[in-house]
Symmetry: C2
């Protein structure tokens, strides 16, 4: 649980000598203390690029990604996990932002305009041989190629499904929960999510309340934020199952493949959802191989950027698992929508049963804020990855010099 | 592989207002770039302790460990892995150094003087319920209580077995390999270790050479440093097995429980050894539950310090797995010997088939350098954890101000 988050971001701007060319923006979302540690890590990674030719880098972002992830000295600090891995992700994401802006395309369109071979070249297949080969990935992408244009038009017309966590925070009064749940239905969301795991009787009561408000046709997921041991999770979910749960999120330690697999078997057919804290593609691979998750919740700033998330999408497609990204925080909605939209157009070809988390919070700081209409993310039209924050917001919230107290 | 390490350490000194009391020293070993990131993380964690009463902290290091590991904001940067987790480890280790110095005891003796209940209080049992309970841990420690004094005397008389990696680095000429392997035998080591995984024919040749030099009675382990995919590992180890391998170390990604389990089944009875990059006790637990390792190689600065390594030792004892710590680097020998010696005296009660890695490198920088005699670590007698470096070494190697180029 995160009882006292202080929403923050370690923010990066990559510039070139040519002031007429757009900068690339990226960040790692953090929840307060330690944001400066993340900044130091981004500096260490980004310094590897100083003095190099932007065109060369942007022309082969797969190679750049592999180079940064496998830098032998920085790698020691993970390997491929935590602060240093998220820093690599911020740098790779900033390069994608720059590339998309140079191409004049929103990131999802840029990615969906690449050939299957170009997409596969982005992936680091190291340690994936027992789950996803280059040939597997190519087959998946080639299978999706025929419908790309049609699906892009569908996206532009109707958007990508969203769900909302707004009603579900612990500590809300019953009145607030009821009001926000009702508003979620009125706003067209097909699913809401409630935090659980602090007190089973309270969870029972709040779920009953939420179900009464939203009725039988709106899905309700629950999120335990890693609260439980495996057996506690199984007992709690069985006790709550009669409320018709869409999924159970983060029932226990995000590192625990075996516990998630056991939980998933025990609560079947209720789905286990996890991913926002999955450290890398090797962890995601194991969760898929072990049937330890049924919903993969990719996060835009936890792993090594767009490249590793492309690997995640391909893994999910290979295993036939739905991807429902984690979002919220600072700017996670802005970033991750591009990955789901790319997935729909060029990878899985599916939107059914998939949705992106939405929290209506802090979008006002972004140059191109995520927009949700009638329960769907509106497909972005503006060039870039969505990461760029307003100069005024950056100035006001800068630590330690900003206007707004940190 | 770490082709170009630049051995470094993010070094921490904890002081109190009372200048007559000893300071506590701790560090994280790194291999160069990113050392400053690790320093920033240690600063972020250590700042949580500023202004608090040293006696209170030292009196309940289990509670301090759980507080630092579960700090809700810093935890986001892991959780419990990588830079932020290693920083917690450095702070906890520095507190143990201070406590051992105040107690006038080497760390291994201090730990081995605690009651089973006091030792169990150090452990964070979160996410361990399916493998090790408080009651399990108490039973293990109580079983080992009767022989503590006898084993401490044995340790003082004969030390703790060591093995050496010195002959085994890739890139050594045949002459160097031969000379160092011969010296290892002459120095009384019962096991050497060779790096493998770059080229199978070279591995074959170097193993044959080493076996000819050391004869049939000296054990030879191999270390692949994460080079292989799972199937490559199985094929390579089967091809090399006729050299009588003591263990195969880090055959693939250190995150990959399932791949290690598959490799272990396929190469049985050759043991899989791993642990220097295991992020935390939850990963170690899974490797044990899945029979994915037969040798647990704890590392003194990878996890959340002495406390989490006590959990690791108890897990290994519960599963009947040998612990053969990773060492080398900067100061890892100095630190980790205390954990193995504590394990022998108060946890597993075993030395047979267990040994600590030894690399004869950089010990001259430490106030109480690790000493190996006739292939055994000599039990430290000086108070503290072994972490304290000489002021002259700290001054000379300080970055960016030191005398020796970084």
């Amino acid at each position: 649980m995160n009882p006292d988050p202080d929403y923050s971001a370690a923010y990066l701007v990559l510039r070139t000598d040519d002031a007429s060319e757009p900068a690339g923006h990226g960040f790692v979302f953090t929840i307060g203390r330690g944001n400066d540690v993340q900044v130091a890590a981004i500096r260490a990674v980004a310094s590897q690029l100083v003095g190099r030719d932007a065109g060369d880098l942007l022309g082969d972002l797969g190679a750049v990604g592999r180079e940064l992830v496998h830098d032998s000295q920085l790698r020691w600090l993970g390997p491929e996990k935590g602060v240093i891995h998220m820093a690599v992700g911020a740098v790779i994401n900033a390069l994608w932002d720059m590339r998309a802006k140079r191409a004049g395309q929103p990131l999802w369109r840029l990615l969906a305009s690449l050939s299957p071979e170009e997409i596969v070249d982005l992936v680091d297949f190291r340690y994936l041989a027992d789950a996803l080969t280059r040939e597997d990935a190519l087959r998946i992408l080639e299978r999706a190629q025929p419908g790309r244009e049609r699906r892009a038009r569908e996206l532009l017309a109707t958007g990508y499904p969203a769900y909302t966590t707004s009603p579900g925070w612990l500590g809300y009064s019953d009145e607030t929960l009821e009001r926000l749940a009702r508003e979620a239905v009125e706003d067209g969301f097909g699913q809401i999510k409630l935090k659980v795991g602090a007190d089973l009787r309270e969870d029972e009561r709040r779920l009953a309340l939420a179900r009464r408000v939203v009725g039988p046709d709106i899905a309700i997921a629950v999120d335990a934020n890693q609260r439980w041991e495996a057996d506690e999770a199984i007992a709690a979910i069985r006790a709550l199952a009669h409320h018709d749960l869409a999924w159970v999120e983060e029932p226990t330690s995000p590192d625990d493949v075996l516990a998630h697999a056991r939980i998933a078997r025990a609560i079947d057919p209720i789905a286990v959802a996890t991913g926002e804290h999955l450290a890398n593609r090797v962890m995601a691979k194991q969760f898929l191989l072990a049937d330890a998750l049924q919903i993969l919740q990719i996060d835009a700033t936890r792993v090594a950027g767009v490249n590793e998330n492309v690997a995640m999408l391909l893994l999910a497609a290979k295993f036939g698992v739905r991807v429902c990204p984690h979002a919220g925080g600072v700017g996670l909605c802005e970033l991750v929508q591009h990955l789901s939209m790319f997935d729909f157009v060029a990878v899985s070809g599916e939107r059914t049963g998939r949705m992106i988390e939405f929290v209506d919070h802090l979008h006002e700081h972004f140059v191109t804020p995520a927009r949700v209409h009638r329960g769907h993310y509106v497909a972005p039209l503006v060039a870039g990855s969505g990461a760029e924050m307003l100069p005024s917001s950056l100035a006001a919230h800068r630590v330690p010099a900003g206007r707004v107290p940190a």
